[in-house]
Symmetry: C2
Subunit: 311 residues, 2 copies
């Protein structure tokens, strides 16, 4: 049972681009529904979709903003591949008003289909890449689906997990930071939980809005703001929350080092930052996708406690 | 206040495709996060995302399935451009368990980024095109934003409306019918409300699942199934629900004629079908996007009555 004071969605931000001088052509939107498609005119791109759920029994005043990682959408917070409730549900039950973002180019925000506006092409992700990048297991063990010992990701449901994958560009970071910023300005005071690529984008947007952000959780951020960005972000507490098996790949050994470096710099600048590895607080076996791991509910409970005590 | 028995989402359907023989290349997912991107492997495409909301006080047993039109996502049922509640909320309040689909290639279902799998390129939509296609006003009156007399679409919020637009292919109908079919098989017994392009895709999927569909509302369908499709769909009632200003454009004059032709054929085959023009039941000024018009709540109430009495 969920008692909601309100729920809904909105789109915010983006910009208009104009196309001119292109020839029109006949296309069929459905059998018999031919139209003369005119590719000229004003197109709106780079807006952001936000869906929100406000519980009747709200027990924390700032909004909670969930920002997905690369190649995923806000759907990653809604359900686990094996069909359990997602962090959206767990944080709602804890009394948070939860705002789920689909960042620029992802999900219900839509992508720019006008050629030449975004550099490069969208990249799709294979299960093979996810297996390594998300630390489910060693690449050599992919075909046999043998995970790292003690791994808690629902490995038996990888194909269902793959249905959540969407393509991603690698050239849209600035537009995405602007998109998240537009969302923050609309949402107001908030604590952000930002995963992977979202950790990089969200921490940049957070640092640019120190008056709105009450706390920032970088859930295995793919990168961190530069020195100027960090200097602007010392007014709220940071948590770098890392999973297990960090030393198994060179990439995540570096990622863990970057998290420590960033936290150290924030503290040096007079701010507050903690680095927590989930195995150290009772959650061994955490993958990069720990919001979907077998112990995801417990991790959400731990994280809710951290937010209530620090933010 | 919304009391929900349950809510959540799932992805369903789609297929795996395999890519081989392509060179890998270095890409940066974030600053300092370079990876060797391997475009070979197995990619999952053409799945469908469904988000569902089950009210505590359920007053209608079959699920209600909402299927968006072309260039839009399930978000079109959530809010109006001027910020009023969408049909999702109105039908929930009427006691329906509402399932909102993002069809193949749209929104959180993701699109296929592997070249050569889908024909053609995605098309984006300008406001100019929407103005004419959605019958807000005469094309000559677009620049001055002068709508048809009595038009109830929130014309003052066209730019906000445009934020909901997403690109669409014109070559994916078969995959989309399969996607909706996979969703129906998962959802079970249902009544479908299918808008515009979704009216074409949804009616084809419905006719292919006569054992699951208890009723079908074609909300200004862009096209209808062929004779074989109609023959399979005589076991449930059809409603062709049309807006206002149908005689203002040749396209919608034809669309209205097609609706009457389809309904006549269903009746001839021994089935049940009604054609209703909204002005005839008290809703003059209805655009093609009547789920967003000023009287959208009243139309939802009328449609709920129709569903309860016929399905």
């Amino acid at each position: 049972m969920y008692e909601l004071e309100d729920f809904g969605s909105f789109h915010v931000g983006g910009r208009l681009i104009e196309v001119s001088g292109e020839p029109s052509r006949t296309v069929a939107y459905a059998p018999g529904m031919e139209i003369e498609y005119d590719p000229n005119g004003r197109f709106r791109i780079e807006q952001v979709y936000v869906q929100y759920f406000v519980p009747r029994q709200r027990r924390f005043e700032p909004a909670l903003v969930l920002l997905h990682g690369g190649g995923l959408t806000g759907a990653c917070w809604e359900t686990t591949p094996d069909g359990r409730a997602g962090w959206l549900h767990h944080f709602l039950a804890q009394g948070f008003a939860v705002h789920v973002i689909d960042n620029v180019e992802r999900g219900r925000s839509g992508f720019c289909a006008v050629e030449g506006v975004w550099d490069g092409v969208p990249l799709a992700r294979t299960l093979e890449e996810a297996w390594d990048l998300f630390r489910f297991g060693h690449p050599d063990d992919f075909e046999a689906r043998v995970p790292y010992p003690g791994q808690r990701f629902p490995i038996g449901h990888l194909e269902q997990f793959q249905r959540q994958f969407v393509p991603r560009w690698t050239s849209t970071s600035e537009a995405q930071v602007h998109g998240v910023s537009a969302a923050l300005e609309r949402i107001g005071p908030c604590v952000m939980v930002c995963h992977s690529q979202g950790g990089y984008l969200g921490s940049r947007a957070a640092a640019a809005h120190p008056g709105l952000v009450r706390g920032l959780v970088c859930a295995e951020a793919a990168a961190y703001p530069d020195a100027d960005g960090l200097a602007a972000g010392t007014g709220f507490p940071w948590l770098m929350l890392l999973g297990d098996y960090l030393d198994r790949t060179e990439r995540w050994a570096r990622g863990s080092e970057a998290a420590r470096g960033c936290a150290g710099e924030i503290v040096r600048l007079g701010g507050r930052a903690e680095v927590v590895e989930l195995p150290d607080v009772g959650f061994a076996g955490a993958s990069h996708m720990y919001m979907m791991d077998g112990h995801s509910a417990g991790i959400a409970a731990w994280l809710g406690d951290w937010i209530r005590s620090r933010c």
